[in-house]
Structure formats: C-alpha cells, structure tokens
C-alpha cells in the first residue's frame, strides 16, 4: 500500500493524469504520447490516415462495440450469460489497430478485442451464441464467454493465460515470411502482460529474427486490481522496445486517428523487412476487469471520472463534427441502429437450443477421437439415459 501511496503522491506533484504514468521523465520525452485529434476536434490533415468515409464507419464500429459491451454486462447481471469482459473506454485502441492492418493480416487477440472479431466478419449473433455457449456457438460450448475464434477473418482463438499469444503471433508472421507472403501479424495484450515471460520471449524472438509483427499493448492502467506502476518500473511500456532492438512507439490510445496512423506506420515497417514494432496505446479501463470484478474496492472515482471525460468515442465525434461529417442527429441515428442490431442478435441467439449436442463434448480433442473418447461418450450417454440429472446442473 505504501508503494501505491507513493505513486499517488508522485502523480499529484507532477500533475499527471491518474492511471497514466507518474509524470513526464526522460522516457516519456523519448517516447512522446502521439495524438492526432486535438481537444477541439481538429486534426492536421497530414497526420490523418483514414478517409472521411472510413472515419464515419469506424465511429459506428465504436458505437457498436460500446453498445454491445453495455448490453452484455446487463445480460450477465440478469443471469442470462455467465460472464463478460469488454473494452469500454478502449474502443479506439482496438478498432484503430484492427483497421490499420490489412484484411489478410492475422490477429492474435487477448480477451478484450471482440470488436476486432466482428470487424473481421464474425456475425454478431454468432458472438452472442458464444457468450451463451448454446447450440449456435462456433466453439461448440468448449470455452467460457469471450473466448471466441473466427478463422474466416484470421482472428485466432482466445485463451485466458496471459501473453501466450505473443510468441504465437511471432510464429505466424515468421511462417508467412518463410513462405514469402505479405502478411503481418497483429497481437494485442494489456500492460499487465508485459510482466509475463511470453511477452519478453515473443519480443526477443521477433527482434532477433526481424519478424513482421505488430505488438499492440493496450495500456489501460490496471490489471484487475494492480495499477500499471506495480507492473513495471519502466516509465513507459514503449521504451522496452529498446532492449529488444525493435521499434517502439507510444500513442494516445483514446485517439482513433493516432492509433490508426501508428498501426499503419508499424505495418509499413514490418512489410518492408524492418521488423517488429512495440506499440503502446495509452488508454484506460473505465469499467471493472470483467463482470466478476468490482473496481470500487481498489481505485477512486476521481480517477475514473477523469478518464470518462476523455472518452474515445466523444473524441472521434469531435473530429467528425469538426469535419462536418457527423452531428448529434446522426449520432443518435447510429446509436439507435446499433441498439437494434444488438437487440436482434440477442433475440436470435437466444432462440438456439441452450446446449450443443452431447457428442460435441468429445469433438476436436484430436482430429479423430481416440478409443477413450469414444468409450467415454457411450458411458456418458448411458449415464444420461439412466438418470437425466446427469445433464442438469443440480
């Protein structure tokens, strides 16, 4: 606790934003927080890498992401899904990166980038079926909510262990280079993951072999209850790139245009054989870690409110207003549209049978079931037939 108090004191002294790093030091100057959208919504056209049409489109994606996250938390509170983990406040980081790479590029998610799966074509109803673990679940009820995979969109499978996806992304990008394909892998992880061995291992392997990978860190300030300052003594995450001999950048993760532009730069570098980029997106986890968490137990309301005022959706809205592309009336219409889309997806998803068929329990362990799985399926069928309570939770 003493360490936490020290951090709070340091922040007050330096007047930096709560949840950010404790004041501008040498490394914050060397890795400046790059932004594109100014407070008044203006932007230097030379820095903007998205077309007007794309900017409006991404705005609608951000609204969809927000609506979905809010609605799914409600469903969890109502007991209709068991768990949810979303990206409220981090939409610009997720969508700015996924929109900044090419469609053929592979995505190695952590567990908050559901908007990335949807952006790559996963139907909303399929996503909700995954949350329900029902007969429409593409993962056959094998994983808990929010652990989707969408191979058609090169969105690989989500797991819960931290940072394991980082070396995997490096491997896929490496494989593409071996085959001579123009494919850059994008992987997401939180700042907490930078403490995990696989972050280090992945960055090191990628650096040594100049692998075309973009390592996007969603620095959202908190790993469940542990603040960013208790994850690393480094002033920034981006500076860690120096030790791996790779390129590092630090952007305002709540500024969609800044995230997009930085991702484009990283992709160009990767495709040109200049190796990986560690891209730190400074953002904030406005809500709890997941529906299983209550952040009031470990952080103050002031900090959260300060970040709510920096909402990435409002930020992009100001840009769109400055460009006279979208006004309040259009925003209202977009909101109504995404609300309806999510409502309909939930309705359609809930119409599926509540469980996948019994045999799916054994599907996909191996390419073909071994004798053990075949015998155990028969054993389970017989058990269910002799006592139906076998198939009910109580």
């Amino acid at each position: 606790m003493r360490r936490v108090r020290d951090i709070e004191e340091a922040r007050k002294r330096k007047g930096s934003l709560p949840g950010g790093s404790p004041g501008a030091g040498r490394w914050e100057r060397e890795f400046p927080l790059r932004a594109v959208i100014a407070d008044d919504g203006s932007a230097d056209p030379a820095e903007v890498t998205v077309s007007d049409e794309q900017a409006v489109d991404l705005y609608r994606w951000m609204l969809l992401s927000r609506e979905m996250d809010e609605r799914m938390v409600q469903l969890q509170r109502q007991g209709r899904i068991a768990f949810y983990i979303g990206a409220i406040g981090e939409e610009a980081t997720v969508l700015g990166t996924v929109a900044g790479v090419e469609e053929r590029d592979w995505l190695f998610p952590s567990y908050r980038e559901h908007a990335g799966a949807l952006f790559r074509g996963m139907p909303l109803v399929t996503f909700v079926c995954d949350l329900l673990g029902n007969a429409g679940d593409r993962m056959l009820g094998h994983q808990m909510p929010c652990h989707e995979a969408w191979a058609a969109g090169h969105f690989v499978s989500i797991s819960a262990p931290i940072a394991t996806q980082v070396p995997q992304a490096v491997g896929a990008a490496w494989a593409a280079r071996i085959r001579g394909d123009d494919m850059v892998a994008l992987t997401w992880f939180g700042e907490g993951a930078t403490s995990a061995n696989d972050f280090h291992t992945g960055a090191n392997f990628a650096g040594v072999h100049k692998v075309p990978v973009i390592m996007a860190c969603r620095n959202n300030g908190w790993a469940i209850s542990v603040p960013r300052e208790l994850q690393t003594a480094s002033e920034t995450i981006a500076q860690k790139a120096i030790a791996y001999g790779i390129h590092g950048e630090r952007v305002d993760g709540n500024d969609l245009l800044a995230v997009h532009a930085a991702t484009r730069r990283a992709r160009v570098r990767a495709a040109a054989g200049q190796g990986p980029t560690l891209l730190e997106c400074v953002t904030y986890r406005v809500e709890g870690h997941s529906t299983s968490d209550d952040p009031r137990a470990y952080r103050g309301a002031d900090e959260v409110e300060a970040w709510r005022a920096r909402d990435p959706i409002l930020r992009l809205a100001r840009y769109l207003a400055w460009k006279k592309l979208v006004g309040p009336k259009e925003t209202d219409a977009f909101r109504a549209e995404v609300r309806e889309r999510v409502r309909r997806a939930v309705e359609e998803a809930e119409a599926f049978a509540p469980k996948p068929a019994l045999e799916t329990l054994f599907e996909g362990v191996y390419a073909e079931p071994l004798w053990q799985q075949r015998e155990q399926l028969e054993e389970l069928r017989a058990a269910v037939a002799s006592d139906p309570r076998t198939a009910s939770p109580r």
């Binding site: 499978s157 995997q168 992304a169 494989a175 061995n197 992945g202 362990v365």
Partner: protein, 324 residues
C-alpha cells in the same frame, strides 16, 4: 540395408520429410549450424537453409509458442527441446495452448507439430538431464505421446508423427541414442502411431515397457527364459494413443502383467495401465498387476543405477508375479 543408431534414424527421418514436404521446419536451441547437441539435426541447415532449420534464442516457451503460430499458419514445425527436463518453461504453451487449440476453437484451427526431446536417465545427468516426464503430457487431452526404443521405430514413428494431424510429443531415449543399433531401410519408413509391438512371445507373464526401459525388460525376459519363465514382452511405442487391444490380448493370455517405466511410480503411466488391465482383464488375472519403476524421488545422480528399473529388478518382479 544400412545400420543406424537412433540419432542417425531421427536425422534420416527429418531429412526425408523435409525433402518431401516444404512446410516441414525444424527449430530450437543449437539445432541449426551446430546440428543439435546430440547431432540429431546435423546437416539439415546446410541442405534446407536457415529459414527451415532455425537457431532460436534460448527460451523453450518461445520455441513452442512460435512453433504454434507457424503451425496455425500452415507450416509443420518440428521443435526440439534440448532435454525433456527443460520442457517445463514451455508447459503453458504445450498444455494450455498446443493441446487445446483445436478443441477451444471448435475445430476452426489446429496446430499439428512434433516436439522432439531426449528423455531418460542412466547417463550421469542428475535431476536436470535424466527425467521422464511423459505422464504429464498423456494426462493432457489433445496431445499424442510417442516413445521409440530402437532406430527402425524411431525413423518410422517420427515420419508418422510429422504427418499426423495432431500435436505429438516425441520422446527419444537418449541412454540408448547411440547404443541401440539396427538395420533401417533407406527411403521412406512408416510405423503407425498407436500400435504396440510384441517383441517376444511368451505364455507366463506380460512385460510392458517402452523406450530405454524396453532394453532392460528384454534383458530380464532373456534371463527369465533361462529359468524356464516365458515372458511376453510388449514395446508400447505409442503411449497416447495407447494400443489397449495389444495389452488386453496379451494379459488375457498370460494372466499376469509387469509394467516397467523409469518415471517415478506415483501417478506414473504404469498406474493408468494397471487400472486399465484390472478393468478389462479382471477375471483373467492370476497375480496382482505389478509396477517396476523409478522411485518417488527427484532423479538422483550417484545412485542412478539403483534408481532405474533395470533388468535385475524387473527379473525379480517377473519371478514373484509368476510364483504368486
């Protein structure tokens, strides 16, 4: 027909599969320019280049993690873990990721790979160059586990493992890496995964072994024969999938089973085999199913001969089981 040892057989299988399939890549610590500390990948980088025979940084989770990404993308990686004792830093990648990838993605993705690693004691290697960690992997659904005992099987099983659609742990018995020699055909050799081999027929007792301990069991069976005991010896070769039919067929004939492995006894794979035998051969059994194994200690240095379930201990068990 050329005579090879296990190292040469492994090298030959890798070479042939790399020639046959451009997607096969080898990666690991010291596997490239040097050809591996046991020389299993000798000459491969010269023939196939640095893109397909990769010297990685020294981190096992990185070797397996990157191999997984390569496999997802469509390559067929054959990562080497220098000693099975050093596989533990990669356990998260193997158990949480590699083993579950097909299942957790609802069959959308798969990550077939062959993780080659020398295992086992008797080489004066102490704790960290001697262990037999096969049970950890058999206990994790989604992985296959293969252990050859001789050069012919090493070549044939490795070939099958590289062509297999699932991830395979390929444990190589380093104690007999060079000592086990035999005739191995040039060109393609395929030994199917999941088939045990009866290497000695007998009617009094079934001895079940694999890898380096097959050689000890074979010695014990020979000595038993001189005493008039006909032991049937089964080389399992593949632990997962397990050739349950070969085991039950033999034990139903002999009514007795002795299981040999060098890993510690408690929760070793012998415990699983013993349970399967009593479930399936209960009315045929004439004596308790018996295990001859390493002890429940870390692998020792000085007393490794005593620790290993070598022929004298196996022979003693065979005689006791037959006399029961």
């Amino acid at each position: 027909m050329p005579t090879m040892n296990i190292i040469q057989a492994v090298n030959d299988a890798l070479k042939l599969e790399m020639r046959r399939d451009r997607d096969v890549v080898v990666l690991g610590e010291d596997v490239g320019k040097f050809g591996g500390v046991f020389r299993a990948s000798q000459g491969l980088q010269e023939e196939f280049g640095k893109d397909r025979v990769i010297d990685t940084p020294l981190a096992e989770s990185g070797v397996i993690g990157t191999a997984l990404g390569m496999a997802l993308y469509g390559l067929k990686p054959v990562p080497e873990i220098q000693f099975a004792d050093f596989i533990f830093p990669a356990m998260d990648q193997i158990l949480s990721e590699v083993a579950k990838y097909r299942y957790r993605s609802g069959g959308q993705y798969a990550c077939p790979m062959v993780i080659r690693t020398p295992y086992g004691g008797g080489i004066r290697g102490g704790h960290y160059h001697s262990q037999s960690p096969e049970a950890h992997f058999i206990h994790t659904a989604g992985l296959k586990v293969v252990v050859p005992s001789n050069p012919f099987d090493a070549k044939g099983l490795l070939t099958s493992a590289i062509r297999d659609p699932d991830p395979v742990l390929f444990f190589e018995p380093k104690r007999v890496y060079r000592a086990a020699k035999g005739e191995v055909p040039e060109g393609e050799v395929v030994v199917p995964i999941g088939k045990a081999k009866v290497t000695r027929e007998g009617r009094h007792v079934t001895v079940i072994a694999w890898g380096a301990m097959w050689h000890e069991a074979d010695q014990a069976a020979k000595e038993a024969a001189a005493m008039g005991i006909e032991a049937e010896l089964l080389d399992l070769r593949s632990l997962q999938p397990l050739d349950i039919d070969a085991i039950t067929e033999s034990v139903r004939k002999t009514g007795r089973a002795v299981i040999v492995h060098e890993a510690p006894r408690t929760c070793g794979f012998g415990a699983e085999i013993s349970a399967l035998v009593q479930e399936r051969c209960f009315l045929h059994l004439e004596a308790p199913v018996t295990r001859v194994t390493g002890f429940d200690t870390p692998f020792p240095y000085t007393l490794e001969s005593e620790y290993l379930p070598r022929a004298p201990r196996i022979l003693k068990a065979i005689r006791e089981v037959v006399a029961f």
